[in-house]
């Protein structure tokens, strides 16, 4: 036995296996009929689509199992469209599989690399033509062209400057000032401490100066959540405790992580949960983060009551509300 290792040989393309329809005219005829039936079903689908569009009332609803109450016109249009497209496809594929030649063919591949002589000629031509333009020699032209091409890209950038104003103080301020009344959202009515029972939650917005209309931009940073606990439930430092009123504590509703509305309050545990990324804040401890990606507590709004007994803000928020940004000074929370 020789030491030469023998490998398996490529046996080459297997012989063609005849299909029924290749040899049996009856089978071929059957396949032809199948294809024709599929195409006819597609035509029926189009008829169904048109009929549903014209003759079915748009406001007719039917009850279907699993799907529940369904708009009859929409589903008939959909099923019609399904039939009209799906059966064309199935027909064409059946045609290809049963009747078209199924003998595999072999094509040769070609090398992508250009022939050495072509490459050399290209390099020579490039050098000659580049040289004739002075590409190598005239460095003044080359450098000034580089400069101008570099600069020309700046104009569109500059022109995009006016896509928006500068933020100025937007991120660090809200519409809450000393004495701003808390208005229930969406009713827009002022609220008294007695309106909130222990365990209750309410969303409030600041009363805006007369003549100012509330926009979504205001709401996006002004929204505040009021929660009433038993005063003995709090575990706050004296200053933060003085910002509450008869067990009512107010927090910015805008998550300090990515700005979603922190809306899920669990009465038993006094936890606030943000549904976006599950940051969890402990209301009794000044909305301290106890779980999730948020890095800072929800800012607390100091509240009290005015002469008429309505809840008002004592002062603006002492820290910026919402998610972080580069200019935010977070040294004091």
């Amino acid at each position: 036995m020789s030491n030469q290792i023998e490998r398996f040989e490529d046996p080459g393309l297997p012989a063609h296996v005849h299909r029924n329809a290749d040899s049996d005219p009856l089978a071929a005829k059957r396949a032809e009929r199948q294809v024709a039936i599929l195409f006819m079903l597609s035509a029926l689908g189009t008829v169904l689509t048109i009929a549903a569009y014209i003759y079915v009332k748009s406001d007719k609803y039917v009850y279907l199992p699993i799907m529940g109450s369904t708009n009859l016109q929409q589903i008939l249009l959909g099923l019609g469209l399904t039939a009209s497209t799906l059966f064309i496809g199935l027909g064409a594929i059946q045609w290809a599989k049963k009747l078209m030649p199924d003998q595999e063919e072999i094509a040769e591949r070609h090398e992508f690399r250009s022939k050495e002589v072509d490459r050399d000629e290209l390099v020579a031509a490039f050098k000659e033509r580049g040289g004739s333009a002075g590409l190598g020699r005239r460095s003044l032209i080359k450098r000034s062209l580089g400069l101008s091409l570099g600069l020309v890209g700046l104009s569109p950038l500059v022109l995009l400057r006016d896509t928006g104003p500068l933020p100025k103080k937007f991120f660090t301020t809200t519409d809450w000032t000393a004495g701003t009344r808390l208005l229930l959202d969406p009713a827009g009515t002022p609220i008294k401490a007695s309106d909130l029972e222990v365990g209750a939650v309410a969303q409030v917005l600041p009363e805006l100066p007369a003549g100012t209309e509330r926009t979504l931009e205001n709401t996006g940073k002004d929204a505040v959540l009021l929660i009433r606990l038993r005063p003995e439930d709090f575990n706050l430092d004296p200053q933060k405790l003085s910002w509450t009123y008869q067990g009512i504590i107010a927090f910015s509703k805008i998550c300090t992580h990515m700005g979603c509305a922190v809306a899920l309050y669990e009465q038993q545990t006094h936890h606030l949960l943000c549904p976006c990324h599950q940051s969890t804040f402990d209301v009794t401890r000044g909305a301290k983060v106890i779980f999730g990606p948020a890095a800072r507590p929800l800012p607390q709004l100091a509240i009290t009551v005015d002469a008429d007994g309505y809840l008002v803000a004592v002062q603006p928020f002492t820290v910026p509300i919402g998610p972080s940004f580069w200019e935010r000074n977070s040294s004091n929370g």
């Binding site: 046996p11 080459g12 399904t82 094509a107 591949r109």
Partner: protein
């Protein structure tokens, strides 16, 4: 000659005299395409893109991309009298007052999900079979680009209706912009034309969604297909298939019928989903307002991994010199995705660097025969799957009676522990599959037929494989099939050592049996 033939001939003559197309067509009508189900994944993506263009155009006829405030007064009574943007209002009208409008919206959304799924499945096929190797690196890069833009396009698309859920998604995107050091708050104001949400955003993303990105897709897809056409398709190994040829069916008529038919099948299936499966019922959540939110907020699946990463991030911020840097946003939202996508784009070049393999490859690898690559792919998939699980941690927690905290901690630990395990297990599985291939070739197929020998011994009859099958299972065993030995000069220094280490790891394989092995075994038997 029949009149129709005459007319066709005249038309063809007219075109050819002006373009010379006959020569090109003559050559390409017989162009050969190899047949395999996994080659249809990219086709699904292409056809979904066409469906997206068709249905999307329909939607633009009624959709009003404006954040102008209007009061809804239409057929969906629960929302009557509510203030909302014209975008949300017109989406409601499309859904309830335009015949077929809801159907088109649902086909469009399903089609987007299928588009992204098909791109990802196609990516897996190309990765695991090594189809990205020379000369197809350009197409790999274009593919990574299409995937990236697809994610952006999908996100912008489901943001357009301006409902409570999509508005929340945009709020999160705004927070990512805002978190970028130094320029974040400016970028946010430029993108939104001022304070969030403002009235500029929907019109802006609309034009990006319907013009800019689709135009880019069209250009990239065209180059992608032209390269496939020019370089000819890869093929799986098998009898008669070599690096020098391509074996398959001709364009005319088989591929035209199959591929054309397949377009209609994809359309039909998507239309069926749009007809019976409700998707994104925006009327249930109401118009967007920053002060409200719906529980169980979920992005579409192709954004889920990003959301899952953000959810898993620890609460890390740096506060110094009057500035704030949010690592809890930057790392999961920008830095990690950047690393993942850059790594993915560069992989063909990295592999070619450490294998030293600069040859052309037209025969695909069976995934088991490149254990290192397959293991790396599975590792990445497992990583992304864990993040997707975490992106739905609230839903999973409520459905399976777990705590959100539990799912989150599973993710935080699992992201570091499970992918390496997946790597080792996958590599072992690949090597075991190679061993089983070896056994198959040497000992044949187990037939399940038992025979009793005269001495009472029971034996199972093994049937030798066909020559074709033997070839398919052993053809990969060429010298330096996986990694070329590196020259000694290339393995010095830290970089060189790393390269040598990766080279060795990549070359791991079970020796495929040879005819010699089989003969020796035969001698032993008798």
């Amino acid at each position: 000659m029949k009149p129709t033939q005459k007319a066709a001939g005249a038309a063809a003559n007219y075109v050819d005299e002006r373009t010379g197309a006959a020569k090109w067509l003559k050559k390409n009508l017989t162009k050969v395409f190899p047949d395999h189900w996994s080659f249809m994944l990219g086709e699904i993506a292409l056809y979904s893109f066409i469906i997206l263009l068709l249905t999307g155009t329909f939607l633009t006829f009624w959709f009003d991309p404006s954040q102008r405030e209007v009061i809804y007064n239409g057929s969906y009574l629960p929302l009557n009298g509510l203030h909302m943007s014209a975008a949300y209002d017109s989406t409601l009208r499309l859904s309830f007052d335009v015949r077929g409008g809801l159907l088109m919206r649902q086909i469009h959304h399903w089609s987007a999900l299928i588009f992204m799924s098909a791109i990802v499945a196609h990516l897996f096929r190309v990765f695991f079979t090594g189809a990205f190797r020379k000369p197809r690196e350009f197409n790999w890069l274009i593919g990574v680009g299409l995937l990236t833009f697809g994610i952006v396009e999908g996100f912008l698309g489901y943001s357009l209706p301006d409902d409570l859920l999509s508005g929340t998604g945009i709020r999160i995107a705004e927070a990512i912009l805002q978190a970028i050091p130094v320029v974040g708050s400016y970028l946010s104001f430029f993108a939104f034309g001022g304070a969030f949400p403002g009235t500029a955003f929907i019109p802006r993303i609309f034009i990006v969604h319907v013009l800019l990105l689709p135009g880019l897709f069209l250009a990239l897809i065209t180059i992608h297909l032209m390269l496939v056409w020019y370089q000819k398709h890869t093929q799986y190994p098998g009898p008669g298939r070599t690096e020098k040829n391509v074996v398959g069916y001709p364009l005319m008529p088989v591929y035209m019928a199959k591929a054309g038919g397949f377009f209609f099948v994809v359309f039909g299936v998507t239309a069926f989903l749009g007809a019976v499966a409700s998707i994104n019922p925006i009327w249930l959540v109401g118009p967007y307002t920053p002060g409200q939110i719906s529980a169980g907020s979920q992005p579409d699946w192709y954004m889920g991994w990003l959301d899952g990463l953000v959810r898993a991030a620890p609460p890390l911020e740096t506060h110094a010199f009057g500035h704030t840097i949010s690592w809890n946003i930057l790392i999961p939202g920008l830095i990690l995705p950047g690393i993942l996508f850059t790594g993915m784009a560069l992989y063909p070049f990295i592999e070619s660097w450490f294998t030293g393999d600069k040859r052309e490859h037209h025969l695909l690898d069976r995934p088991r025969n490149a254990p290192n690559r397959t293991a790396l792919g599975v590792t990445s998939i497992v990583f992304i799957l864990i993040t997707i699980v975490n992106g739905g941690n609230d839903i999973i927690a409520t459905h399976f009676h777990l705590t959100i905290n539990g799912v989150m901690w599973f993710t935080r630990v699992g992201l570091f522990v499970i992918p390496p395990i997946a790597f080792v297990v996958t590599k072992r599985v690949c090597l075991s599959l190679q061993r089983s291939d070896r056994d198959l070739v040497l000992h044949g197929r187990e037939t399940g037929r038992l025979v009793m020998m005269p001495n009472g011994e029971m034996l199972e009859v093994h049937e030798p494989l066909s020559d074709a099958k033997k070839w398919t299972l052993t053809q990969h065993q060429r010298p330096e099939a996986l990694a070329a030995p590196l020259p000694a000069s290339a393995t010095v220094g830290l970089k060189g050592k790393l390269r040598a280490r990766m080279n060795r790891a990549h070359a791991t394989q079970i020796p495929a049996p040879t005819l010699t092995d089989l003969k020796e075994l035969g001698e032993g038997h008798h």
